[in-house]
Amino acid sequence: MHNRLQLSASVEREADLRYTPAGIPVLEMWLRHQSRQLQAGLERDVSCEIQAVLIGEGAPRWAGKLTGQCIAVSGFIAQRGLRNPRLVLHIEHVELIKG
């Protein structure tokens, strides 16, 4: 089953880096995306906010360096919790966008 999301966004806010009981680092953040997209042959404004999480060795590398930055990320989406249908982007790849 496909589940892949690519997104360019700015990082609104980062949570403090935390660790799971097994010692895996987790970095949660909130992304804001704004762009123009083609729809039915017409260009339009698009904006959205999404929570994202970076789990694993990338998390301490990026922690504290992302707030205010523009990034290009890719990953998969999953619902936030058992009874919370809001989506969270699980980041697998991050890149800073210069400029």
Binding site: T20, P21, A22, G23, V26, V53, I55, G56, L82
Partner: protein, 722 residues
């Protein structure tokens, strides 16, 4: 050679019988012997057993040897063992050996210690003695003109043992009988209620009289004990004091020793080395220890000249042993007081409903201490924080944090009570709902951040936390809920600069941990204590200004009918830590059920009212103390196997009028250490009727084991937990 005669021997085996042996010289009842048993060798004790089946002499083996240089175990001790074995339905041999100190269980001889004192010998009268500039030696030498007991000599100089040994070798001193003289250090002045309590109990000396000393926290119950002990010692008798917790023993021992510096004192608890416990046990038996203080097992200490028994914190659940010999030390203590014909004082700020009912029925007399002993000390104000409408920081409500902060600023001591050790009671996958469970128990694994492992608090299993959820693969597993370690971490962040000390079973495992804690607390080196129920019992920290209770709601709606009684006692005890001496105290309780009657009673300090209400509920439901219960517990690989045994047992019951049998029901925690557990519950409004039924029913169950080999089962008389 004399004609061999048969005798009965109790041996430490799980059979409800004594064994016949031959002896070629008469051995008195209570004598320890070495006997051949099933190809090996066992320690046994000669007993009387009218029910013993006569075995032809030619089939009997002979007692190998008599072990003791000490006298045979006393008759009243053996009578206590016999009663315990019969009442708690435990094999006589196992009951007896559970009551003996370790060294007496093994086939080695034991001997009295030489407890005689010292005096200067005739040879010394011509000797010059140490010069006055050798102060310690000089003092001891001159004191030895009169017989000195060991403790008296040691009080003169700590070098006494070495000096006496040297002088004895030089023939300058000799061993003589020396009764230690009673020395009593000054105590505080009693208030009217305390004085009246002392007079009432003292007036009952010399006969059996059960007293309930019902005194609010801080009302000075211990001082009442001390005054009574003084009178008993002055009459040349002994006192047995039972306390619930090992870690309360050293504190109380020290207080007793300070008050009665010349009185030999035997402290008996499971934390002692074998030899120490034996020495104390023998000193108690011989009558040379004036004060015998210990945890539940100390109820089995023989006492040559007991004059009074005291059970402190009589409501405490730890007086009931939960495995093997499932006795209740408070109840046995009452039996012993009756046997010995002496008064017994049961002390508590939150008396058990059993004792309250006994007062109502006129069996016990009640003595109330309704004021705090320290004149200026007030009972603390208790306030509830409704956490349904509060934002919580790691389980802490903002008003609670603010109250802690104020105390830290004023340099006053606070206690945060969290009855859960570890960091979090469970770790969870919030995406699929998985929870960390113990593979061997129906219990959650508790996350401990100190060793970074998940621990089962029931069976001891521990494991590394999984890297990812075993069900869905999510690696973001989260600790849920708060234990002491998490509160410690949260408060370290919330109260910068505060000196925080966590006290739970993980931090006080070392022997001297309590001394260290006292030193720090009394030395003003601590701002906030975080602790489990360990901290709730009897510790007197004089400057406690705030007590904050977290996560207590669990006990409000438990399936165990005793849960609310226990919770109320626990909270009253912990609240009682606040506002002692001259610091007014405040108690804050975080709850989702502020309107619950338990909390309302706690706020009003209405111990008696709450007990009356609980007692009415118990009577309504025909639960103890309005009825008497016996549980037959069984465990096996599966709860079905255990229940099948219990079904078969229930089928053998011929229930008389008034006796009911319920179950099999699974235990509240079905699975424990890979065994699944269920029980039958037999109930009757009168104890005698219940036990008459057991006399008829239990012998029939012996045959069931054949068909249920994989089932372990036991009888629990007056069960406390399910």
């Amino acid at each position: 050679m004399a004609h061999p005669v048969p005798l009965q021997v109790a041996i430490n085996v799980p059979l409800a019988m004594t064994f016949s042996y031959l002896t070629d010289r008469p051995l008195p009842v209570g004598c320890r012997v070495r006997v051949p048993f099933r190809g090996g060798e066992q320690t046994g004790v000669v007993v009387e057993d009218p029910q013993a089946v006569a075995v032809p002499a030619h089939k009997l083996k002979t007692v190998e040897s008599c072990l003791d240089e000490i006298p045979p175990l006393p008759a009243d001790f053996l009578e206590l063992i016999r009663f315990t074995s019969q009442y708690y339905r435990h094999p006589i041999g196992q009951t007896l050996f559970a009551a003996l100190p370790g060294p007496l269980r093994r086939p080695q001889p034991a001997r009295w210690q030489d407890e005689r004192g010292w005096r200067l010998s005739i040879a010394a009268q011509d000797a010059e003695g140490p010069p006055p500039r050798q102060k310690a030696r000089h003092g001891l030498w001159h004191a030895l003109a009169e017989p000195l007991a060991y403790l008296e000599a040691k009080a003169i100089t700590p070098q006494a043992p070495a000096l006496l040994k040297q002088w004895l070798a030089e023939g300058l001193v000799e061993r003589v009988d020396a009764e230690p003289r009673l020395q009593v250090a000054d105590g505080p002045i009693l208030n009217d209620e305390q004085a009246a309590a002392v007079e009432a109990v003292a007036g009952s000396f010399g006969g059996f009289a059960p007293w309930l000393l019902n005194g609010i926290t801080g009302s000075g119950k211990t001082e009442v004990y001390l005054r009574l002990i003084e009178r008993v010692l002055a009459a040349g008798q002994q006192v047995l004091v039972l306390v619930p917790e090992i870690n309360l023993t050293p504190q109380l021992v020290e207080r007793f020793a300070r008050r009665f510096p010349a009185t030999p004192l035997a402290a008996l608890h499971s934390g002692l080395a074998d030899g120490e416990r034996l020495a104390g046990w023998l000193a108690a038996w011989r009558g040379s220890a004036g004060i015998v203080i210990g945890t539940r097992l100390a109820v089995f200490t023989p006492l040559a000249r007991v004059g009074l028994i005291i059970v402190d914190e009589e409501h405490d659940g730890s007086f009931k042993q939960q495995d093997e010999l499932r006795y209740h030390a408070r109840d046995l203590a009452v039996w012993r007081a009756r046997q010995a014909g002496v008064p017994i004082v049961l002390g508590s700020a939150t008396p058990s409903l059993e004792s309250v009912a006994n007062v109502e029925a006129g069996r016990y007399r009640e003595l109330r201490l309704s004021q705090r002993a320290h004149g200026a000390a007030q009972l603390p104000t208790v306030r509830l924080i409704d956490i349904r409408r509060q934002k919580l920081h790691d389980g802490l409500a903002e008003p609670a944090i603010a109250a802690l902060r104020r105390r830290v600023e004023r340099k006053e001591l606070s206690l945060v009570y969290v009855n859960r050790r570890g960091y979090a009671p469970v770790i969870a996958c919030t995406e699929c709902g998985w929870l960390s469970g113990c593979p061997h128990c129906s219990a959650r694994l508790v996350w401990h951040v100190t060793d970074r492992r998940l621990h089962c608090h029931h069976c001891g299993h521990h494991e590394a936390p999984p890297r990812a959820c075993p069900d869905c693969g999510n690696s973001d597993l989260k600790p849920l809920g708060q234990g002491t370690q998490r509160i410690e971490e949260a408060l370290t962040g919330l109260l910068p600069g505060a000196r925080i000390l966590r006290i739970d079973r993980d931090t006080v495992s070392r022997k001297d941990a309590w001394e260290e804690i006292y030193r720090k607390v009394l030395g003003g080196e601590v701002d906030v204590l975080i602790g489990t129920q360990m901290l709730a019992k009897g510790h007197d920290f004089p400057a406690l200004s705030l007590v904050l209770v977290l996560n207590a709601d669990g006990g409000l709606y438990s399936a165990d009918f005793r849960a609310s009684e226990r919770l109320f006692a626990q909270l009253s005890q912990v609240a009682g830590r606040a506002g002692r001496a001259d610091t007014p105290g405040e108690v804050l309780v975080q709850t989702q059920w502020p309107e619950h009657p338990l909390y309302q009673a706690l706020m009003a300090h209405d111990v008696a009212g709450y007990a009356a209400q609980q007692l009415a509920e118990r009577r309504e439901a025909c639960f103890p103390p309005a009825a008497f219960q016996v549980a037959v517990r069984a465990d096996a690989k599966t709860v079905e196997e255990a229940s099948a045994f219990l079904d078969a047992a229930a089928a053998l019951a011929e229930l008389p009028e008034g006796v009911t049998l319920a179950g099999p029901a699974p235990a509240l925690m079905v699975r424990l250490a890979s065994r699944e557990r269920a029980h039958l519950l037999v109930e009757a409004p009168q104890r005698a009727r219940l036990h008459a039924f057991l006399d008829d029913w239990l012998p029939r169950l012996a045959g069931l084991q054949q068909a249920h080999r994989a089932v372990r089962w036991s009888i629990d008389v007056d069960p406390q937990d399910f």
